[in-house]
Amino acid sequence: MRLFKDEQGITLIEVILVIALISIISSAIYMTYTDSIKVWFFNKERVEIQQNHDIVQKWLERYIRQAKTVDYSVDKQLTIEFNESDEILFFLNNGFFSAKINSEPVKQISNLKFQDIYFNPTTDNLVEVTSEIENKKGTKTYNFKSIYYPRLLN
């Protein structure tokens, strides 16, 4: 009971001080949190873009290596003849990078949309592919340029 009587209570200044401190600390925590969330999403987006580019690259390199003829005549399309008489067509189907082997149904390869893709022969007869991949929200594009070596054409 004596203890209670001895208690002085809390002054207004003390309360204000505590509130100020708490708000400073919590805003710092909040900023760190939102920043890390931003970084996390940014990294996730980059990984997604990179994965899409990787899988597209896997397809392209495999068939370009085997190419007997490479046809650039249609804009934003690449037709490759391989093996005895097989043919594969790479193109953007509703923005998604897709492939069509002979008369099989179209295979969608990327799960992100491509804003654009260009196929061009280099002066050394290599195949240059320039692609612009959109992020999921469609707010940003990432550009890639790769050069492939058709083994049979050099």
Binding site: R65, Q66, L152
Partner: protein
């Protein structure tokens, strides 16, 4: 009562939190391991592909030699070349070689199939007939392909239209071959002393594949001493090789690869000899003696002379470091047609003429096929 139940509550809370943490950790490790396995699969697939590709490069470098993968596989890390095949075949009329290499990394397999044309001219055997001297008696021989002599051509050769064919004289080399290396490559080396008859070869063969006289046509047989192809032997069929380190005699009317089912087979005969036996005469010249008439598809090569008593019909090539004598060409039906198909037989049996002057890779021509399976 109250106090007791509160204590229990803390325990339950701890268990609940621990369980929740465990679930979260398990889920995360699941996600991570799934990601890892995708990554591992991709990277071992890449490793397997590059291993297969390096296998093909290795096979190119060792185009003429036997392929031993141990050295190559010792250099590869986390991957190896599982299987490497070399196959010679006819690619749209040209001689070609196909390398099939299978790479493996962590149970992921990738196969690369590569076909090159073979530079046929480097095989040196590009003439229908090549000899020191060529002596053509009696009737003309109708001929396709080039004729080469180091010294002189006696007699006349005509093409199908009746035009006279001139031979290239001098300036080139008649291919040479090392007989010791041939003995190393043969399936059977038969060394029984002096003269042996063709029909008795299976008796002396060590290889089970050579049971019957018929089998000789598909085997690589090396005979030390003289060989007589008996009169009773009328045909030899197959894509085999017969090497005689001595003289060869044949009986009359021998046909080689003339049956319909052997239309794509080329038989190779390679002979060296020290004694000349023509009608009982002997001299110091080397000799390869052919009997009455021969219809032949393949290659006939002799370090010594080649002598035909009567008619000859040849699809392939006939080469002698000595002299070639062709007698009757009976009613002009005899042909000499250059046909490089015999090179397939040579390659399949690892036989090369003058190959030491070149890098093995030089034999590889245009790349015509690249497949990834």
């Amino acid at each position: 009562m109250n106090k007791k139940s509160e204590n229990g509550y803390v325990l339950v809370l701890a268990v609940v939190i621990l369980t929740a943490l465990l679930v979260v950790i398990l889920a995360m490790s699941n996600l991570i391991s799934a990601d890892l396995s995708i990554f591992r699969q991709t990277s071992s697939s890449d490793r397997a592909f590059y291993a297969a590709e390096s296998g093909v490069s290795f096979a190119r470098k060792n185009f003429l030699s036997s392929i031993d993968l141990t050295g190559l596989n010792n250099k590869l890390i986390n991957a190896e070349v599982n299987d490497l095949d070399r196959e010679y075949f006819d690619y749209k009329g040209d001689l070609a070689v196909r390398f099939t290499a299978e790479g493996v990394s962590a149970n992921t397999f990738r196969t690369v199939v590569v076909t090159h044309l073979v530079e046929e001219e480097l095989m040196e055997l590009t003439k229908a007939i090549a000899a020191e001297n060529l002596d053509i008696k009696n009737n003309h021989i109708v001929s396709d392909g080039e004729i080469y002599v180091n010294n002189s051509l006696t007699g006349e050769l005509e093409d199908k239209d009746g035009n006279i064919i001139t031979a290239t004289v001098g300036g080139e080399k008649i291919p040479d071959i090392d007989f010791d290396s041939l003995a190393d490559k043969a399936n059977n080396v038969i060394d029984v002393g002096n003269t042996i008859s063709y029909s008795s070869l299976p008796t002396y063969a060590s290889d089970d594949a050579l049971n019957d006289v018929e089998d000789i046509g598909n085997e690589f047989t090396f005979v030390r001493g003289n060989l007589t192809i008996d009169n009773a032997i009328n045909s030899i069929n197959g894509s085999g090789v017969l090497v005689v380190d001595g003289n060869l005699f044949t009986g009359s009317n021998l046909t080689i690869n003339q049956a319909d089912e052997y239309i794509n087979d080329y038989f190779v005969i390679i002979v060296s000899g020290n004694i000349n036996i023509v009608s009982g005469e002997t001299s110091d010249d080397d000799i390869y003696y052919a009997g009455n008439s021969i219809i032949y598809r393949g290659l006939m090569y002799a370090k010594g002379n080649i002598y035909f008593k009567n008619s000859l019909s040849l699809d392939g090539s006939m080469v002698s470091q000595g002299d070639i004598t062709l007698n009757n060409s009976s009613n002009n039906s005899s042909n000499i047609n250059y046909d490089p198909g015999f090179m397939l037989t040579l390659l399949n049996n690892g036989i090369f003429f003058n190959s030491d002057e070149y890098n093995e890779e030089d034999f590889l021509g245009e790349l015509v096929e690249w497949q990834e399976l």
